[in-house]
């Protein structure tokens, strides 16, 4: 067995420069993706900590763990951490940042320094929010409804609002960067219809980021100004309308849920096609469905206000539009399922998460359609039915998609494989734990248990105990990957450029890729997901 006389370590983006400064001042989209991974994982566990306290409180019908004021703070801070500081950046800022330039055949995003700036902006926003939380918290609900947030709350509204305001700019500039990159930086031959669907999804999400986020930015700023300077347009004492706040808030916050889910759907498109070894069924429809979701998503926001006091006629209009927005999502589910039909399916961990997504997002999406119906909504609004609905789409959908993407691209990002056995076990914990946590909540909500209450009638206890038990199982499913991913960095098997035998420009670079991505600008001559012409090889990584 020959031994090499000298080993020249290949230049990768990871070893190209050591030291804190080379990371904190990097312009490389791949390093920035890792920086974001660290930040949002931290915020995920912050949000998870509040979730744990909520579920502990809800083990018993009496409000005995914390006071109702403290409970208000817990669900507020859980929502803010998870929505603004985890879900919205997760896939775009981590996987999008890493993969999009590779997928389009570019050396970097269009504006690399802006990209780094967004990470700092995000962290400054998170710092404002965290300091406010530690200093005593905020109790307005993540929705900051006026006039409670502007006039009556005695908690750190301004600090938190400013944190959300600042972090919003990270989202805006990330979206701007993605749109410009996808338009202007595609390699020769990479036409729009050859783009990976992950790019289409992030493009659609970026449209929402750019158009919607500024509206919540100005709205949150007005809340802060009203508290600080009494420049008030929401104060009822002056004739202000609390519903105006809600209109402006939900104009962004509804499309925001599509900012969250669209990139996740893009991940699922990539995974389903790779692990069924088939081109996505109806590629053009899936691509256009992403755009349709983005556009239609802007037309439905007042379905969050059906019982708030808007006019019935407006409610009718928004109800009808809300039914429409379900259609392109359903198109995607159908097309993924059709992709699986007669596919040559491999059940690796990313695919397991993708299966979970398809089933759980369908349940979450359908219950959303129930909520679009005015009659049903009047009955279940502000109950646990709504909580279950959005956790099914956000956790059962989005978090599973994020986990799927992390596992799928981990070998590319790090050059290492994670241990498949442990990964499958974690996926099982996540799936079982998730359903045990949130399915009982559909029943609780339908039976009338209100959301945001820390005490409830004793007849609801059994379901609440099941839910808390589920949350413990789910937590294990979140902690295990933290451990084995870190383990894999040191002890994982070397992955090679294309461990999944996938089609896509990112798989044609070494793992991890060099800083400049491609030695020569690729020229694309093949269609997207050209699995028919990709030779089936033995997957080189042992399980």
């Amino acid at each position: 067995m020959a031994t090499a006389v000298q080993t020249v370590e290949r230049e990768t983006y990871l070893n190209n420069g050591y030291g804190l400064k080379s990371w904190l001042l990097t312009k490389d989209h791949k390093r920035i993706a890792i920086l974001y991974l660290i930040s949002i994982t931290g915020m995920f566990f912050v949000g998870g900590f509040f979730a744990m306290l909520i579920r502990l409180e809800l083990l018993t019908p009496a409000g005995d763990l914390v006071s109702s004021d403290t409970y208000n703070k817990l669900f507020t801070m859980h929502g803010i951490s998870m929505i603004f500081f985890f879900l919205i950046p997760s896939v775009p800022a981590v996987l999008g940042n890493f993969c999009i330039p590779l997928m389009v055949g570019a050396k970097d995003l269009a504006f690399p320094r802006l990209n780094l700036a967004t990470w700092y902006i995000f962290n400054i926003g998170a710092a404002f929010a965290l300091v406010s939380m530690i200093w005593g918290g905020v109790d307005t609900g993540w929705t900051f409804y006026t006039p409670f947030s502007t006039t009556y709350s005695n908690t750190h509204v301004v600090g938190t609002a400013l944190g959300v305001f600042i972090a919003g700019f990270a989202s805006i500039f990330t979206g701007l960067n993605f749109i410009v990159t996808i338009h202007r930086m595609r390699a020769p031959g990479m036409t729009w219809t050859r783009l990976p669907l992950f790019c289409w999804s992030n493009y659609a999400a970026s449209i929402i980021m750019v158009l919607g986020t500024p509206v919540i930015a100005i709205t949150i700023l007005l809340v802060a100004l009203e508290r600080l300077l009494h420049i008030g347009v929401f104060n009822p004492a002056l004739g202000g309308d609390p519903l105006l706040f809600q209109h402006l808030f939900w104009f962004y916050s509804h499309p925001a849920v599509y900012i969250m889910i669209l990139p996740g759907m893009g991940v699922i498109s990539e995974i389903v096609t790779c692990f069924a070894r088939k081109r996505v069924f109806g590629y053009e429809f899936v691509a256009l469905a992403s755009i349709a979701i983005a556009v239609l998503g802007f037309l439905v926001w007042a379905h969050h206000m059906f019982v708030a006091g808007i006019s019935v006629y407006a409610a009718l209009v928004f109800s009808l539009l809300s039914y429409l927005v379900a259609i392109p999502s359903a198109v995607k589910i159908f097309n993924w399922t059709a992709t699986l039909y007669k596919g040559s399916i491999r059940y690796d961990t990313p695919m397991l998460y993708a299966f979970g997504f398809i089933g759980l997002f369908t349940i979450g999406g359908l219950t959303g359609v129930f909520l679009a119906s005015l009659g049903v909504d009047v009955h279940v609004t502000d109950t646990y039915f709504v909580v279950a609905h959005f956790h099914y789409v956000m956790v059962g959908g989005m978090v599973l998609a994020y986990m799927a993407g992390l596992h799928f691209w981990w070998p590319k990002i790090t050059g290492k494989m994670y241990p498949e056995g442990w990964a499958k076990l974690s996926a099982l914990f996540v799936f079982v734990g998730f359903n045990l946590t949130f399915f009982p909540q559909f029943i609780l909500g339908y039976m009338g248990m209100p959301r945001r209450y820390h005490a409830y009638p004793p007849e609801f206890q059994v379901l609440n105990v099941l839910s808390t038990a589920g949350a413990s199982v789910l937590a294990v499913g979140y902690v295990l990957p933290m451990i084995y991913f870190m383990w894999s960095l040191r002890y994982g098997e070397d992955a090679g450029p294309n461990p999944w035998n996938a089609v896509g420009l990112e798989w044609m670079t070494p793992s991890p890729p060099p800083t400049h991505n491609f030695d020569e600008t690729p020229v694309v001559t093949w269609e997207a997901y050209d699995y028919e012409h990709q030779p089936e090889q033995e997957v080189p990584v042992g399980h």
């Binding site: 750019v210 300077l229 009494h230 347009v233 105006l244």
Partner: protein, 227 residues
């Protein structure tokens, strides 16, 4: 030692772009997208204005009577002139007239500062007349006119928020123009590389655009009391 246009351009080419054309088109598209976000940012305020003007029209009329139309019109004219000098300045960058470009950009800055000065005069007047929302707000004319002074306070909240946000953007604009004046004086731009000048110009015109709407909406609501 004069550097040629091509040399200036090549020095400015960033590594991840294939050509100056790609870089320029990318930068300009990026600036337009940013202006899109600004349209939506101000848009939220315009939505609030629309809703409250429709609901409290008479109060808005009364509030706007305190606006000085001539100062507002002068400011509008000042901004339009500044847009002209800015556009001509960009044109000089395109045609390699570096000295003229710097002169025009400095005049643009001066117009911007004039706008801010006039605005400061107006703000001072409103402030001393207790026309800032909050516990010190006073609007004695309300009773005689038959409107609720609290609703007038909403008008003023929107006035201060909208013109304040606009003024903040003007300050940033003046700073941006100062930056390209300095860079231009150092010979960093040429007919082949003037994207920063053009993009700062886009930002400047946008700020002018917002004022074009703010002026009639805040100042010209109604003159039925004469003026």
């Amino acid at each position: 030692m004069a550097t040629s246009d091509i040399e200036i351009a090549e020095h400015a080419l960033q590594h991840h772009f294939a050509s100056m054309d790609q870089q320029r088109e990318t930068a300009t598209f990026g600036m337009w997208l940013f202006l899109v976000t600004e349209i939506m940012f101000f848009g939220g305020l315009f939505c609030a204005y629309l809703v409250y003007r429709a609901t409290y029209y008479e109060a808005f009329v009364e509030g706007s009577q305190t606006m000085n139309i001539w100062l507002g019109a002068t400011n509008t004219a000042v901004l339009i002139c500044s847009s002209l000098t800015m556009a001509l300045g960009v044109r000089c960058a395109q045609t390699d007239k570096r000295k003229m470009m710097i002169v025009l950009l400095i005049i643009t800055m001066l117009f911007g500062l004039a706008f801010l000065g006039i605005k400061a005069v107006e703000y001072h007047e409103h402030w001393t007349n207790h026309q800032f929302p909050g516990s010190n707000f006073q609007f004695p004319e309300a009773e005689a006119a038959g409107v609720n002074p609290q609703n007038v306070q909403i008008y003023f909240s929107l006035y201060w928020a909208m013109t304040g946000l606009h003024a903040l953007h003007m300050v940033i604009g003046v700073a941006l123009v100062a930056w390209i004046v300095i860079a231009g004086a150092r010979g960093l731009y040429s007919a082949d590389y003037y994207a920063p000048v053009e993009n700062v110009g886009l930002y400047w015109h946008f700020v002018d655009l917002v004022w074009i709407y703010l002026f009639p909406l805040l100042y010209l609501i109604s003159k039925k009391h004469g003026g």
